[in-house]
């Protein structure tokens, strides 16, 4: 039986940093289990920056300023003691990346360059051209090669093994051979990333961001937290949801409905296209609902009036993006865009060293929820989150592993998972996987999207439950054991459907508007009743069972969130 002291599930920024810390500790056996090779992880898609109060650009910046901006940006739902930790440790982790070779862009005097970012009172987003996520991911991967991190590449975790109070290990499938293994481990760190793919039809997330970690935790009896909070980015390309950055609007791009009108005039006449993201997203959805959207429910980003020269000089990457992924040249015609599900604030409930209620099971990164992002995440804080808390989870897990013995794993784990797969291959085939997935994406996008209300949310909960029932009739037709991606996508869909129900149920429960959660029927923020986290457990009847957790307030009393 494969045995490791610490197993890390997921090979993005959080997982790799946890692995590195464990490796550097020395006397702990560690492996990273990932369904993709490390540098394929979605951390690589992050472009803008990683926040840290290094005070390069603005010498007056402090971690306290960063802390306040984060808490305010979170609409006061973030646990402030954890935010303090993140902001305090930020300069250290950013510099650690730099020492390890991350090629940040530089200021005139050779220091790490910083730039302004949404919601930040001071310029503190440390950047590297438009590829800081890619560079951080590769830096961690490279240092992993240096320190000898072990990988189990293209293995998909099927279940967490525990005895109710302690971690025992995992079961996982080697995708290449289809063989199912039990891996004994003292500690398991879930670092599987976000679950934007629940909004299948319009998300910026990679195909594999299906919330495997939260689904595994949920099935293991662990609570998920703040699941109703999903951040939307207003401008994603129609076909793919790939983000067109705010810079396009900053350079003078206009947003038009299908009639050719600059509709932001009616929603934010002063700021127009540069109004806050959630406002712009809601404006777009309203236009589409009232029939002024294009044939695919889109609106248009018009850069044609800027001219070829200005676009080539200031926005060359955006131009290339539109041509490559949408087949449209922004010099020639308006680009179709839609609001895109972008980031998952919610996730597995943890404390600030990544511990869950089961000893030895940890979570870090986007799949975890401490919470530092509360109801809305600031740009540049996600890369910071994964570095700070990936590292902390790695250290704590190692320390735990050192003072713990291995426990025997109960028999039958492999057989149980084999049975699950066999069911998938022998179902009656009356339902189509792709169809169910599309319907899930559609109902989540329409009814648990930018605008929410009770009636829609109830319908969404029922619709997802119906989809889960229908999923039982999906048959995996590919019988091969070798690299069976039809099987892996079926398992991912199972995870997504589970999370979709939780998200809809939590959104139904939270009867207020806060951050990215906008209730048309409860449009005000209600600190008296709702300044608390919603926890979701897997109930005995198969439905989410909800509990509440207070928010930790230390420095900043909740105030109105105006910009």
């Amino acid at each position: 039986m494969l045995t490791y002291d610490v197993l890390i599930i997921g090979s993005g920024g959080a997982g790799l940093y946890a692995a590195l810390e464990s490796r550097r500790e020395g006397n702990v056996s560690v492996a990273v289990v990932s369904k993709v090779y490390a540098t394929r992880s979605h951390t690589g898609a992050a472009q803008g920056g990683v926040n840290g109060a290094l005070a390069t650009l603005d010498a007056t910046d402090t971690w306290q300023d960063h802390c306040f901006d984060t808490v305010k940006g979170a609409d006061y739902l973030a646990d402030q003691d954890s935010v303090e930790i993140m902001c305090r440790e930020a300069p250290m982790v950013v510099r650690q990346m730099e020492h390890w070779g991350c090629p940040f862009s530089r200021s005139d005097d050779g220091r790490i360059a910083q730039r302004p970012f949404g919601g930040a009172s001071k310029h503190r987003a440390c950047y590297a051209a438009d590829k800081v996520g890619h560079l951080i991911l590769h830096t961690l991967f490279e240092q992993g090669m240096r320190f000898g991190v072990n990988y189990l590449n293209e293995w998909m975790v099927l279940s967490l093994l525990h005895d109710g109070s302690r971690c025992l290990g995992i079961t996982a499938m080697d995708i290449r051979t289809g063989r199912i293994h039990v891996i004994r481990a003292k500690a398991v760190i879930l670092a599987t990333g976000g679950h934007g793919r629940v909004y299948w039809t319009c998300t910026s997330n990679a195909l594999g961001n299906t919330g495997d970690g939260p689904a595994l935790a949920y099935r293991a009896g662990l609570p998920l937290k703040d699941m109703e909070f999903v951040q939307y980015h207003p401008t994603g390309l129609r076909r793919t949801g790939i983000l067109v950055t705010e810079g396009a609007r900053g350079e003078g791009g206009h947003m038009l409905n299908v009639r050719g009108e600059r509709f932001m005039d009616r929603y934010a006449p002063k700021k127009m296209e540069l109004a806050p993201r959630d406002l712009v997203s809601r404006a777009i959805v309203t236009e589409v609902r009232e029939g002024r959207g294009g044939p695919d429910g889109e609106v248009f980003l018009d850069l044609t009036h800027l001219g070829k020269e200005r676009i080539s000089e200031r926005l060359p990457q955006i131009r290339q993006l539109c041509i490559e992924f949408e087949g449209i040249d922004p010099v020639e015609e308006p680009v179709p865009i839609k609001p895109t599900a972008h980031y998952s604030m919610g996730g597995i409930h943890t404390n600030d060293v990544g511990r869950t209620p089961i000893q030895g099971i940890y979570a870090a990164g986007e799949c975890g929820c401490i919470s530092v992002h509360g109801a809305n995440r600031l740009g540049g804080n996600s890369l910071l989150d994964i570095l700070v808390f990936g590292r902390r989870a790695g250290r704590d897990a190692c320390e735990y592993a050192r003072r713990t013995e291995f426990e025997p794993v109960a028999q039958g784990a492999v057989e149980a998972e084999t049975a699950v797969i066999q069911d998938l291959m022998e179902a009656d085939g009356g339902e189509d996987m792709a169809q169910i997935r599309r319907e899930m994406g559609a109902v989540m996008g329409e009814k648990v999207g930018v605008y929410r209300n009770e009636s829609d949310l109830r319908q969404a909960v029922d619709a997802v439950r119906a989809l889960r029932e229908r999923f039982k009739r999906v048959r995996v037709r590919d019988r091969s054991q070798r690299f069976n991606t039809e099987l892996t996508t079926a398992l991912e869909l199972r995870n997504m459907l589970e999370l979709a129900e939780v998200i809809a149920a939590c959104a139904l429960e939270r009867r207020e508007t806060r951050g990215s959660h906008f209730r048309e029927d409860f449009p005000q923020r209600d600190d008296k009743a709702w300044l608390r986290h919603v926890l979701a457990f897997s109930g005995t009847d198969g439905r989410p069972r909800l509990e509440y957790l207070p928010v930790t307030i230390t420095r900043y009393e909740p105030a109105a969130r105006t910009y």
Partner: protein, 369 residues
């Protein structure tokens, strides 16, 4: 006056030929042909997903980010290694005047199934070239209170190579990898350059030796890797630069570096390369066998074989050219940020600034003189 937006969304039907192979059940690879309705904006990855969802769920391929940053979906389309997620179908059909596209897995790597290859062999070669920064204590502060200072010019020397997403398209296209399975390949060598050129790194000599041992001079400069790289990182150029760094670091006793030095010296002396004598310069005494073969061959046609070449007119200018190039290298060499100065105005960058000995190739060139 706002004008209604007309969305021109085309639809055409195309034949998509896809390489299929499952070693568990197929005796040999074969092609399946699928008829697919292509819409405006569809990429090859969209096509593969459509086929898998609607026509054949056993079709297997890799994909993740769909935005050309993860490198998962590299395949050969009509013979060329590209990323499926950023290759538009309709322009591809238009460019090739066909109504079909052919999709095959990458070359030079074992085929696991259908379009999926085993990239471990390429990663293994990467590992051997120490693709990571080992902190140089002269440059990197001991504590995490501050970062290493680096100028924009220093970053520019290796910045392009950091765009690499390890998609292995270059590895697939490389003629030398196809010919010699021990050759490290463009991806690994370009990464070796990226770290050797990084001023923060203290592992340059061992890494250069490792590159030497794994085929630094085997690259034939066919530049297929440059044509194919989806991130425009120009691996073959990085390999050229890595070769220069290895010579500057004193690794002279290899056939490749001897050849490079012979070219430099000969052009300085004769205005041209002394090709007849080159085998001996490069391979030492073993080179005489090649020289004798030449002599023998020439004698058959009644010609005498000379081991000397005439000095071309214009030879005196060569020294001048070399000197000019060396001066330019010193002038354009990236400068390290001075710890004493805090702000350097942009204008100062145009004046040649003093170079600190140690890292830059220009310094080594100076020593050579």
């Amino acid at each position: 006056m706002p004008e209604p937006i007309k969305t021109l969304r085309q639809k055409i039907t195309a034949n998509v030929r896809v390489h299929r192979f499952n070693p568990d059940s197929d005796r040999a690879p074969h092609f399946d042909v699928f008829k697919v309705e292509i819409e405006s904006g569809m990429t090859v990855l969209d096509v593969l997903q459509t086929i898998k969802e609607e026509q054949d769920s056993t079709l297997v391929f890799r994909a993740s980010c769909r935005s050309s940053i993860c490198g998962s979906c590299a395949v050969r389309i009509n013979g060329k290694a590209v990323l499926a997620c950023s290759t538009q179908v309709i322009p591809t059909l238009v460019d090739t005047w066909k109504s079909s596209i052919t999709i095959m897995p990458l070359r030079n790597l074992p085929n696991i199934r259908d379009l999926v290859v085993d990239i471990d062999a390429a990663l293994e070669k990467l590992y051997r070239l120490h693709p990571y920064v080992v902190e140089n204590p002269e440059h990197i502060p001991v504590t995490l209170e501050s970062e290493n200072l680096m100028s924009r010019e220093e970053l520019k020397t290796f910045d392009r190579s950091t765009d690499c997403i390890l998609c292995t398209s270059c590895f697939s296209s490389c003629s030398a990898v196809a010919a010699d399975s021990r050759y490290a390949g463009p991806m690994a060598l370009a990464k070796a350059f990226r770290f050797t050129a990084d001023p923060r790194d203290a592992f340059k000599k061992p890494r250069l030796q490792a590159a030497q041992d794994h085929g630094l001079w085997s690259c034939a400069q066919c530049r297929k890797c440059i044509t194919t790289c989806p991130k425009n990182t120009r691996p073959a150029v990085a390999i050229q630069r890595l070769r220069r760094l290895s010579i500057d670091a004193g690794i002279h006793d290899t056939p490749g570096s001897r050849r490079a030095n012979a070219y430099m010296d000969d052009v300085a002396r004769f205005g041209q390369v002394n090709k007849p004598f080159l085998p001996v310069r490069v391979d030492g005494p073993k080179g005489w066998a090649a020289v004798e073969r030449e002599e023998h061959y020439m004698q058959k046609f009644g010609m005498t074989h000379s081991l000397e070449v005439p000095t071309l007119p214009g030879q005196p200018d060569v020294e001048r050219i070399y000197r000019h190039v060396r001066e330019k290298e010193v002038e354009l060499a990236p400068t390290r940020p001075s710890l004493a100065r805090c702000h350097r105005p942009a204008e100062a960058a145009s004046q040649p600034a003093p170079v600190k000995p140690g890292d830059s190739a220009a310094a080594a060139t100076k020593e050579k003189e």
